[in-house]
Symmetry: C2
Subunit: 145 residues, 2 copies
Amino acid sequence: MSKGKTRADFMEYLRAKGLKTTQQRDVILDEFLRAGSHLSTEELYLRLRRKHPSIGYATVHRALKLFAESGIAEQRHFGDGQARYEATGQNEHHDHLICTACGRILEFEDPRIEQLQDEVAARHGFTIERHRLELYGLCKDCRPA
Amino acid sequence: MSKGKTRADFMEYLRAKGLKTTQQRDVILDEFLRAGSHLSTEELYLRLRRKHPSIGYATVHRALKLFAESGIAEQRHFGDGQARYEATGQNEHHDHLICTACGRILEFEDPRIEQLQDEVAARHGFTIERHRLELYGLCKDCRPA
DNA sequence: ATTTAAATTGAAAACCGTTTTCAACTAGGG
DNA sequence: CCCTAGTTGAAAACGGTTTTCAATTTAAAT
């Protein structure tokens, strides 16, 4: 899914909901896609401030919420108390490795784990809607030799 | 690990740290162990209020934090915005199934999943310190026939 | 182009769970 | 008992998130 496609999807969502295209949303979406994922509202707001000092925090917040509603982004919580957003790119589904020292976040995918999750859920009579798997630890660079 | 054992562990922690045994902590620990796990501070506070209306929210909060520090409880976040605590019973480690309809929380354990997590981590050069696996969906009773 | 209704914006205030402050009050060793 | 350090409850502070509101902008209908 290219960035252009993501943008088009978002525009289509706005149209379908009777919402408006604004300069702010354009700019915020640009920066969001450019910046790479797992940004907090605060981080995105600060990045935007550099070139667009008039954009308010509330607008960034509302834009991110809208991105999530439209399906082009997802909200995550990694336990540092603030929400983070990631673009729903090609990587349809994945889980995360989080470095507790430097904060780096890696993504991974393992169908075998998913399979076992389904098994566990079935064993308990659950129908899974979504899951969350996060591995916290030290990344290659932060690990003591 | 019996409740008596848990209580003894907590007392030992207090002693070791030069902290004090108080009526409030006694009562809060009692109710915490009696109530079953995954309670929020608010929930525990409300339960306590019935028999002990003078105990303040802050005291409950501090007691739970202390339980976690002492190792007899663990703090969890299931995405509803509030912290929950569970007693660290015999079940040393486990993950959770959370019903998105009724809020029921089941625990499970699967060494095969753990094993695969280790594999994934190793593949990325990570040293895992802890992980979090939560499966969200509908439980047996909430699932439409 | 102009008008107009509805959506959007930025700043500030409200929110909400959590944590801290502070003066009054205990626990428990000496 | 005293005395000191720890604890308590109420209320205030906190920090991230969300809402309010008057002013502004979008875009559909003239």
